[in-house]
Symmetry: C2
Subunit: 225 residues, 2 copies
DNA sequence: AGGGAGCGGATAGTATTACTATAATAAAGA
DNA sequence: TCTTTATTATAGTAATACTATCCGCTCCCT
């Protein structure tokens, strides 16, 4: 059962809104599982259709191609994180404390309570860590940016940047620090598992505590006056 | 004319060493230009062969597939940067100064003197900015890491981390800062041009000065005692 | 109750991609 | 010169990334 939150996304991301129908919800559900399982490069609409007992043509009625499906999932993810940040920081007066909560939310997103039944947020988080950047490293960025495909991410960045500026109004790079926190939360979670020599943090048994500690250290060090 | 530097790469990256033959050098040269032009997803060995007046089968004699070709280019790039850092920091005693030179080298790599005639380093730098991370965000990371495909990048990371530790031996995240400098140098150069709301720096007319300033600010702020 | 409209399923078809195989030719080395 | 090896030319296959058409099933409206 959904707890009633509504993730609103740019409606040009899809041909038919997948949140509205059970086939659409199934596409979301199984695409998350399948991309996580075999990786985005090997993922095809055909394989997805077979896995969910539907047809390729039916999937194409919802998404133009797999790149836009990925963009949809990425947008969904950041919108969800944005929602988590809102409820987790609600009524917290101290900007410092809110920033710490933001960092924890980024790193521990996969441990939050599921919000929507057809989305496995924990798997989605792992997928975003491994495939997320492919959504904007493409020859189509500029066109897609114009249409507003990255607005969720940019708005979240802005939201965090404003908290950063609240902590230290003189810090000259609030947006860059914000986007860097998102990137580092994901990349160092990935490095710790797959390329440990590129980082100093360790992740074992799904324990990302050290990633959080590092991001807090970086942030406080950068924002201390 | 080559100035005689030798870029040595893991020999499992290729089937036949492209540096040894003129066909191989042509593959490197034109693949850089073509990937930069149409993007890695649209890039195929067929298109490359047509562009360089050869055949698909000939390209396949040098590289197993386009993913390994990308890995080759990425390794080449980081090895080249590593070489640039070595000569640029040679005989500089102050670790602080060496770290600044490293940052400048990362950001301004495309402005360095060409080292090898069949590699357009300036285009390669742009390619790495836009496509570089795709080399390690793949389902094959663990296997490829075992074979040593990322050792160039990891060694460079270690080299920079040791300078960081020299500047401040108490800083607990030297490797993470090092890899983050590489990532930020590239990602914020990309953001400044394509997704400016994700950063605070501006890049115009090929002037990346502000990226450098930001990285220096971050680094000094993090390493000050 | 009848008639659309629209959804999803089934099937077919096309151009391109990602290769592998093989024979013929050109170049390079002994 | 003979032999090896590299490169080209050509062909072929399975999978990918789609597009198109038709058909049956639910609704929803009247």
């Amino acid at each position: 059962m959904s707890i009633g939150i509504k993730i609103s996304l740019n409606d040009k991301l899809y041909l038919r809104d997948p949140q509205e129908t059970s086939l659409g919800q199934n596409i979301i559900k199984h695409s998350i599982l399948l991309i996580d399982e075999i990786g985005f490069e090997a993922f095809t609409f055909k394989k997805l259709a077979i896995k969910m007992n539907s047809t390729e043509a039916s999937v194409y009625r919802y998404f133009e191609n797999k790149h836009l499906l990925l963009l949809y999932l990425v947008s969904w993810y950041w919108e969800w994180v944005s929602y988590l940040i809102d409820i987790n920081t609600m009524n917290i007066k101290s900007a410092e404390e809110r920033l710490n909560i933001i960092i924890s939310t980024l790193v521990f997103a996969h441990k939050e309570n599921p919000a929507i039944d057809y989305v496995n947020e924990s798997v989605l988080h792992r997928l975003i860590i491994a495939e997320g950047t492919k959504a904007y490293y493409t020859k189509l960025v500029d066109k897609e940016n114009t249409v507003g495909f990255f607005s969720n991410y940019k708005m979240l960045c802005e939201k965090v940047a404003s908290v950063i500026s609240e902590v230290n109004a003189d810090f000259p790079y609030p947006r860059a620090l914000a986007s860097n926190l998102f990137e580092m939360a994901n990349s160092h979670s990935y490095f710790a598992i797959h390329l440990p020599r590129l980082t100093d943090v360790k992740v074992k048994d799904d324990n990302y505590e050290e990633v959080k500690d590092m991001l807090e250290h970086f942030t406080h060090s950068l924002l201390s006056k």
